[in-house]
Symmetry: C2
């Protein structure tokens, strides 16, 4: 295998890297028979790191997970959907600790080696009888097979229409390393808060601080560059476990193969992030905004996110309307320096604005392009070297329908 | 009249203060017969000030208006709708200057005493033949009557469903001062950018620098605290003309009656701003968010705007859903310091959260309240003395319909 690239593994999943089992069941938190409790278990103590929501309100599970991750090691992640265990006060905290304790006992690992995640209703206490008996029933349902991974991926979903998985392999020190992830996230819906959660596994041997830093950097380029409706939940969390079973020399920032490993890792994150954006509530299209020529990368990011998050741009995409006026208005309000006389805007291959002057284009061609399921908007600011990409989706009637639903 | 209050004048308009005439006509910019050209003229040289959009892209008319306002004096404002004259390059700039020149000639005033405003399509050049002959036809249509004011108010609308006017009187130095305004703004729609424009008249005699500062302060509390869909246009402008004909001692920040004048002025701005929010595209309700107990006023403003601008909160209001989880998530992502354990959330009279704990409430009562046309959300952060109010509207199917419309 060419050392300088990574290979996408179609159909790979969180158990493809060496050393992992996973599974999911229905324990009773969701009304229907849908899976609502899952776990990923590593057969050895994995090097681990996490990135959390920046919301001022941190759900109970995050506190427990931070504690478990203080030593940078995990054996297992226990996740439930159907209830976010957020805004649940001291009882919620106690319940999150109890989840961890039960999982540790049930899986035969130490409590501080277990991370906890929850997603779903805000402000309601967990049905702990269901959770406890569910966790106790989990072990026989955990396996190193695709079917167990699929069950896990299903068990973490809330309003998502599809599961989201990604897997790549890359060569480090002549050894094949696999990196995989499973994520959920779709937007927010009452009564469920469709938090963004992502769980990644790899068999790479890696220094914990380097893993933590890589996760932060990859998150900033991917998960933090998506917007469905601009809302940040109280539960967002990304956790990675690295089993080390691939047998490479410990990866760290100065390792000869660090760059390609980081690229592969970031690819998995990007793949999951785009899948989340595409599955946005009510979405019919993935929207990708690529900004170049900004004064800096942070500036490009701010502009890309503003454009892809604009309700007017999103509505225009839904309506298959090649509306550069709304795009430029979004660029203008991002609070970033722009030269208003030298902006290019392109929709796919179709240039609509050059040096801030409208360019005649084929409206039929634009319509056909906009009716596809992936819309790319290119903005060149000719003002520097900063570039960034952000992802989102269109704003549709279904978004309103989903989010305006009366509670029953 | 009690000097310490102001009196709302129902049915008052921009010609109620002494010294103003106004009118509107159809000159041919809009497809239907709707009025699309209007003017306000002051019979004397008025002390004047303006506040402009912060967009990085400033439409051509703003440049011309800034020039005219350099000396702090105006005789007239000429406005067209149906075309924003934005992103129109050098030709657009020339057209904006030509509009000013024609208006000056037609109205018999100096060019530098004329302000220019435009709203509508972005990126298309003005039909100058229509504009020129329209301006030449305007003078006989200008009057000091309600009917002329109504024509003006109509001529500035784009996607608005209703005109927006407000008028108050207040006593300064024993003289009755009147302050009035006409505004337009509804959101953005293709092909029109429904810019926010507000024109205010008063017969107060006032120091120009004090007027400028008052406009800035009033704008920060009102027009800058509304959001329909989070977008800022390239054309937003507020202009005030003060004729001085009321005969008071020149108002300035240290004048004994300054405070009550400022309150009255701000009331007019607030009234117009709320009317704009209520008339948001597709809106069925005005949403008002009152934040108290923030660490500072700027912090309270940021939080109030985040809550009222949240797609999820807006959808919940549309669906008459008493969803405090979405409100608290919006508070949490505003990037402001909050104590997560001591937040109260109230919907009208109905407390839903106290000290961050859910409070049982009457769902039927909440439903009735939410089905009304004004929804007030109260957030108390118990973290300081900062307070602020922001206004917006619900997110509805009609918003999507209006903004996703295919261009014809």
């Amino acid at each position: 295998m060419d050392k300088r690239t990574y290979t996408v593994i179609e159909g790979g999943s969180i158990i493809t890297p060496q050393g992992f089992r996973s599974g999911g069941i229905h324990c009773g938190l969701k009304k229907t028979e849908r899976y609502d409790l899952g776990a990923i278990v590593c057969e050895v103590e994995a090097t681990a790191a996490a990135v959390y929501t920046t919301s001022a309100f941190q759900a109970a599970p995050l506190k427990v997970t931070r504690e478990s991750l203080a030593d940078g090691k995990l054996r297992a992640i226990i996740v439930n959907s159907g209830n976010a265990n957020a805004c649940t006060g001291q009882q919620g905290e106690a319940d999150a600790y109890a989840m961890r304790a039960t999982a540790a006992r049930s899986l035969g690992v130490a409590e501080q080696d277990v991370a906890v995640a929850s997603t779903g209703v805000i402000g309601e206490l967990l049905k702990m009888d269901c959770v406890t008996s569910g966790i106790e029933a989990l072990p026989p349902r955990l396996s190193g097979t695709e079917s167990g991974a699929d069950d896990f991926s299903q068990s973490i979903l809330t309003t998502d229409l599809v599961k989201k998985e990604a897997c790549v392999s890359v060569v480090v020190d002549g050894k094949e390393i696999t990196i995989a992830g499973a994520a959920k996230g779709s937007g927010m819906i009452h009564p469920n808060m469709a938090t963004m959660l992502a769980f990644m596994t790899t068999d790479a041997k890696i220094d914990q601080a380097s893993l933590q830093q890589l996760m932060r950097q990859a998150t900033d380029l991917t998960f933090n560059m998506i917007t469905v409706d601009g809302d940040t939940s109280t539960n967002d969390m990304l956790v990675t476990m690295a089993s080390g079973l691939a047998g490479n020399e410990t990866l760290h920032a100065s390792h000869a193969d660090w760059d390609i490993f980081a690229k592969a890792f970031t690819y998995v994150c990007q793949s999951l992030a785009k899948a989340i954006a595409r599955d946005g509530e009510g979405a019919t299209k993935l929207v990708e905004v690529l900004v170049t020529g900004a004064i800096s990368e942070p500036s490009a990011r701010a502009i890309a996110k503003t454009v892809v998050g604009s309700s007017l741009v999103k509505s225009a995409v839904f309506g298959a309307d090649a509306n550069w006026g709304r795009i430029i208005a979004a660029v203008g309000r991002a609070g970033e320096p722009v030269n208003p006389d030298n902006v290019d805007i392109r929709l796919g291959d179709i240039t609509m604005l050059r040096e801030s002057r409208p360019i005649a284009f084929d409206e039929d061609e634009a319509l056909v392009y906009l009716k596809g399921d992936t819309v790319r908007i290119f903005v060149d600011l000719h003002n520097g070297e900063g570039q960034a990409t952000a992802w989102g989706c269109d704003l549709t009637y279904d978004y309103v329908r989903i989010n305006a639903a009366y509670r029953t």
